[in-house]
């Protein structure tokens, strides 16, 4: 494992850059646990201070330190994105693999559900959920809802691979080795779809975090939990871009860009490493 990472880093510029950027993100997330200020405390500091030696990234109009806000917000956003990605990956894996492998009626039923979820307009639905749940719309609830909306496209992708895998001879071999369906899916087929899972994770995170930001900017989330979206919400509620407190907006945007560049570069190089074509070619030798 370590040698793989070392070699990836040595040979693959993209991976190296991704790794470094990701290290920055992780560093910030770790720092968040050492924040001298409570994450939701406001009016502790003089408001609207531009970045300087004391407040590295300035302070907000709410008297918060942008830097420490940022670390906590980044942490929550990242956990949120990971949570959604993780849950939705699980759903799409189960649905995709089972539908592809079982075929027949099971496939038809699962795909009918899948396609229905795919066509449902997500945004109105999320807003409606917000109205239904009100203050029960916690982060966990939002993660679950987003995850249950964000799996269908990838489930289809996985299914198409799974259909191919089903006809691969080694599947027959596994069946005649007496393996159960779950074992075949998890141990034989899963490794083949993992590259897809990796690749779609980034898109899923972009989608879920983007959606979080959108909902937050419109005020449809829990405003007490600092996230990237919430930072922008408050900045926006204080007309930060107009009032000249640009650092309040620039900081979260910059960090989100870094986060996604990191994820993108990593997933791209991992993808290359994972690509069944190139990898199997290599293994075949």
């Amino acid at each position: 494992m370590f040698t793989i990472i070392r070699d990836l880093a040595r040979q693959n510029m993209e991976f190296l850059c991704g790794l470094l950027l990701f290290a920055v993100i992780v560093g910030l997330v770790i720092l968040s646990y050492f924040s001298p200020y409570g994450a939701t405390d406001i009016y502790l500091l003089p408001p609207d201070m531009p970045p300087d030696g004391e407040y590295w990234l300035g302070t907000t109009s709410r008297g918060q330190d942008v830097f420490w806000q940022l670390t906590t917000g980044l942490r929550n956003t990242l956990y949120f994105g990971i949570g959604v990605a993780f849950l939705s990956r699980i759903i799409s894996l189960v649905v995709g693999l089972v539908a592809g492998y079982a075929g027949g009626t099971v496939d038809k039923v699962l795909m009918a559900i899948n396609d229905s979820v795919m066509v449902i307009p997500q945004f109105p639905l999320l807003i409606l959920f917000y109205f239904v749940l009100k203050d029960n719309m916690t982060w966990v609830a939002l993660i679950v809802i987003m995850a249950s909306l964000g799996w269908s496209y990838d489930a289809r992708l996985i299914r198409s691979v799974a259909i191919g895998l089903k006809t691969r001879p080694f599947t027959t071999q596994s069946v005649y080795s007496g393996m159960s369906m779950s074992k075949i899916l998890v141990e034989e087929h899963l490794p083949y779809v993992l590259p897809i899972v990796f690749a779609t994770t980034m898109n899923n995170m972009i989608w879920s975090i983007g959606m979080e930001i959108t909902l937050s900017v419109l005020g449809f989330t829990d405003i007490e939990t600092p996230t990237m979206g919430m930072m922008i919400y408050w900045a926006n509620a204080h007309s930060a871009l107009i009032a000249g407190t640009w650092w309040w907006v620039a900081a979260p945007v910059a960090v989100i860009v870094v986060l996604f560049l990191a994820l993108f570069l990593l997933s791209m190089s991992m993808n290359e490493y994972n690509d069944p074509r190139s990898r199997l070619n290599r293994m075949g030798g």
Binding site: E224, A237, S239, I242
Partner: protein
């Protein structure tokens, strides 16, 4: 540009805070059909019997007889009201306005449940009759000394329908009233089929309208637009494309003041904004056992550091009020000033001792804090009277010690740094605030929750998008930031909101509460005050006395914690027009969705853009 057909210098451009209108072709204001109201429709084309201005008004007093020739005449037991109408007023299609229109308005609405004022008339009116073309007599089902209020514009009122148009319509409920016939000085010129703007044109016969009494309106055209979110409004006004911004964020307002040479505001300096006759407060759901006890409510009030809340929400640009009336210019005279002595001596019993919670200098303190910020230094008044008008008198001193005593008196206990309710549960407060739409309240709520939390209460602010519909009406909240007090503004009669606080209207837990007693508070003493007010006429001077009784009662009981007036950051650009209402010429409220804002049209003067 031939397609921008209207000359800018003849046009007043005003923000319509309703945003984009969903059903733009709907002008039937008597049916709630998704059309706009503040699109100029109610300000410029509608009219009704009386207006009470939130500020001074143009006719010498806030009270204005508009379509009516005189004040309402009641019989002795308030079961009959007679109205005399003005003569010589015409609809924009040349038909004369008469008593028939008024009678038709009432009867049609009573016949069509679902029309806006239908229910209100049905509940009250036994019969309505025109005794001659300019006299109408209402017979009421039960005595009501304030029946005229329904025809009296504060923000709006029951508008008069054009009988000659509606009587030809099969179903008034389904009639869109396209090409609305106007009773005001303006009539529809054009509107955006997408609902983003409406333009009204001055009537040639503006003299034949009630506004004509005050002179000729200056703007030939008035356009009401949806300029988008606050930041875009700010940009638009900086570029002189928007003459009146309805409301803004404090920061947007500061930016405008800083960057634009031509912006004018209600107060020339801090806090700039216009205090509306509306009183944002911390509203307790008194049906929640935790908040049934006034000691608890008082304890929570004493935990609020109002200066911090002021800075957090309005960044200092608020007009504070410790009393249960909005600190508008008029109530400052009628209620706030006379009550100061009482407030200074007011005592509460913490169970261990008596304390005097009032700090009369808070307004001055806020001014002092603001003066320390270099950006605002010169904009803060120094004259104590001016400071009071701008920032309010005093407020309650933060007193955690007393708060703790009060909570203990109410049976609460502090264990392990956390407050527990009398039945041993953690004291948990969810403060409902309005999400995006009124960000200053969200800010205030967030900070108050934080102040309570730092005292050991599990408090947190939760935004909801439709506070009224999802929380206040169904009573589905613990504590909220909203208002349950609204006054006429220009008139000391408190019945406008107070009548609905009578215990007869308090809904059962779980049922929908009718406006405006969102705190669902019932109190026999209050009921007596309300009943006394019902027994006297609206302009009876005894009304102020009874109002004072009300203020003392709610100060003791604290069913809501009044915070400040609803300061609206209205800003006006003087590039094309001057003569807007300001504190130095307070002839009306500048907030342009108020129907009273029609008065502006006659006071505005074109300016030559540089």
């Amino acid at each position: 540009d031939d397609y921008k057909s209207l000359p800018r210098k003849d046009t007043l451009i005003v923000e319509n805070p309703e945003g984009t209108i969903k059903n733009p072709g709907w002008f039937n204001i008597w049916v709630n059909g998704g059309g706009g109201v503040s699109t100029g429709l109610q300000q410029l084309t509608m009219d009704t019997l009386w207006y009470i201005d939130p500020e001074k008004g143009l006719g010498g007093s806030p009270w204005d007889n508009s379509l009516a020739a005189d004040k309402p005449q009641y019989n002795a037991d308030f079961t009959e009201m007679t109205v005399k109408l003005r003569k010589g007023l015409y609809w924009s299609d040349g038909v004369e306005f008469t008593a028939d229109d008024l009678v038709y308005t009432v009867k049609t609405q009573m016949d069509h449940p679902g029309m806006v004022w239908s229910a209100a008339f049905s509940v009250q009116v036994a019969s309505v009759e025109a005794t001659d073309p300019y006299t109408v007599v209402f017979k009421l089902k039960k005595p009501n000394s304030r029946f005229h209020a329904i025809f009296t514009v504060r923000w709006n009122g029951a508008w008069i329908m054009p009988k000659h148009v509606f009587e030809k319509v099969a179903d008034p409920l389904r009639y869109d009233f396209a090409n609305p016939v106007s009773l005001g000085a303006y009539k529809l010129k054009a509107y955006d089929p997408q609902g983003q703007w409406y333009t009204w044109e001055k009537r040639d016969d503006w003299q034949r309208t009630s506004l004509g009494r005050f002179g000729e309106p200056a703007p030939k055209y008035v356009t009401y637009v949806d300029p988008g979110p606050p930041d875009k409004r700010t940009i638009a006004q900086l570029e002189h494309n928007l003459d009146i911004i309805h409301d803004n964020t404090p920061e947007g307002m500061f930016t405008l003041k800083e960057k634009s040479k031509s912006v004018e505001t209600w107060f020339p300096g801090f806090p700039f904004a216009h205090p509306d006759p509306t009183l944002p407060a911390v509203i307790f759901n008194t049906q929640d056992p935790a908040f049934a006890n006034p000691d608890v409510r008082w304890a929570l009030a004493l935990l609020i550091d109002i200066k911090a809340v002021d800075m957090a929400s309005y960044r200092g640009a608020a007009t504070l009020s410790a009393l249960g009336v909005p600190p508008t210019a008029a109530t400052m005279n009628d209620y706030q000033a006379p009550m100061q002595d009482w407030l200074k001596n007011f005592e509460i019993d913490t169970g261990k001792r008596k304390i005097k919670p009032y700090d009369p200098t808070i307004g001055q303190q806020v001014a002092d804090i603001l003066r320390k910020q270099p950006k605002f230094k010169d904009q803060i008044p120094t004259d104590p009277a001016a400071i009071t008008t701008a920032f309010g008198y005093g407020w309650w001193k933060p007193d955690p010690q007393a708060a703790a005593e009060l909570l203990e008196k109410a049976g609460f206990k502090k264990t392990g740094g956390k407050w527990m309710t009398p039945d041993g549960q953690p004291f948990k407060i969810r403060m409902t605030v309005e999400g995006d739409t009124r960000s200053v309240f969200t800010r205030a709520g967030t900070l108050i929750a934080q102040q309570w939390a730092s005292f050991g209460i599990d408090a947190k602010a939760v935004p909801v998008a439709k506070l009224w519909q999802v929380a206040l009406q169904p009573g589905d909240f613990q504590v909220a930031i909203a208002w349950s007090v609204e006054t006429w503004g220009g008139d000391p009669d408190l019945s406008f909101f107070l009548d609905s606080w009578h215990s007869q209207f308090v809904a059962k837990k779980g049922d929908n509460q009718p406006p405006r007693n969102w705190q669902r508070w019932s109190n026999p003493e209050l009921d007596k005050i309300i009943e006394s007010i019902r027994g006297i006429s609206a302009d009876d001077p005894k009304g102020i006395e009874l109002g004072n009784d009300y203020l003392k009662l709610v100060a003791r009981e604290m069913p809501t914690i009044p915070l400040m007036s609803y300061n609206v950051f209205t800003s006006m650009d003087t590039t094309y027009w001057t003569g807007y209402p300001t504190i130095s010429d307070p002839y009306t409220d500048p907030v342009p969705n108020w129907a009273n804002s029609r008065l502006m049209m006659v006071k505005l003067k074109p300016a030559q853009p540089k």
